[in-house]
């Protein structure tokens, strides 16, 4: 039973520790390495996390749409696990994008919200995420839930290019490519990379958790599988 070998557990913990170190490094860079901006002061540092979670929210939606499309083609619920995990992480990131952006906006423009094109399309994205969550929670049958989730994800993915190009195609107040010192760009890069790794780790964890949950549910409902098949299952599940 190779999965229960302690080597895997150790590698797992090392991986989690590496992610934690990366997040700590990013936070340290944001607080210490990045220079303080003159006009906005420390509030400008919000941009480092805002850009990271914004990009993650967009990427998760695209990922969810792609996973949903593959599910529709192959009908393999494993793809729906990826879709559901991306939905949760993406909703979290999109909400954090709106909140951190709003706090930054109040510090920069003295207003919590404005219907600028980038903000409007970002809000639409958040609304599609929320609608997908509500829709999925109302359906019990896993295949029907997966189907509906896939359709809503694909329809909503049409908004993602709008969010990305909104500052270029329409006039608005959201900064497009603001002037940043080299040190700031470095910190921005560090922040985006580290937080992407962190949220991707959460995505992987959540997806495997969903897979195990579905597997256990199948076992509970359908009865226990034959003797030979479950030799490795229970220890693997309990390893977490």
């Amino acid at each position: 039973m190779p999965e229960t070998a302690s080597g895997r557990g150790f590698v797992g913990y090392l991986g989690y520790a590496a992610v934690a170190v990366m997040v700590a490094a990013a936070i340290a860079a944001i607080c210490l390495l990045a220079p303080t901006e003159e006009t906005m002061g420390d509030a400008q540092r919000i941009v480092y996390i805002h850009v990271a979670v914004a990009w993650m929210g967009l990427a998760c939606f695209i990922f969810m749409a792609v996973a949903g499309g593959i599910y529709l083609a192959r009908r393999d619920l494993a793809w729906d696990h990826w879709s559901r995990a991306a939905l949760e992480i993406g909703w979290l990131c999109c909400s954090l994008t709106l909140i951190t952006g709003s706090l930054w906006a109040h510090a920069a423009w003295n207003t919590w919200w404005t219907w600028d094109p980038r903000l409007t399309t970002a809000f639409v994205l958040w609304a599609m995420y929320s609608a997908a969550l509500v829709l999925r929670s109302g359906v019990d049958d896993p295949h029907r839930q997966a189907r509906m989730g896939a359709i809503v994800a694909i329809v909503g993915a049409l908004d993602v290019p709008l969010v990305v190009m909104a500052t270029r195609w329409f006039r608005g107040v959201h900064p497009q490519s603001p002037h940043m010192e080299p040190a700031m760009r470095v910190v921005l890069g560090i922040s985006v990379v580290c937080f992407t790794v962190f949220f991707t780790t959460l995505l992987l964890l959540r997806r495997s958790q969903l897979r195990i949950a579905d597997m256990l549910e199948d076992m509970e409902c359908g009865g226990l599988p034959p003797l030979s098949e479950t030799a490795g299952d229970f220890p693997r599940v309990l390893e977490g």
Partner: protein, 60 residues
């Protein structure tokens, strides 16, 4: 009020990061709770499985 005004940028920055921190923490705690629930289910199933093992071995 003057204190808040003077330190407003710092307070905004700290508020934003605290919100992010607690939101992520809440999500991770939820994942942990879900993992505990799955572990309990798995162990219950394992007990059931072990109890039925002799009968299944006889049948197989």
């Amino acid at each position: 009020m003057k204190e808040i005004e003077r330190n407003y940028p710092m307070l905004t920055f700290v508020t934003a990061y605290l919100i992010v921190w607690f939101a992520v923490l809440a999500y991770m705690l939820r994942l942990g709770g879900e993992q505990r629930r799955l572990r309990r289910t798995a162990e219950a199933l394992r007990e059931q499985f072990d109890k039925q093992r002799p009968a299944r071995q006889r049948a197989a």
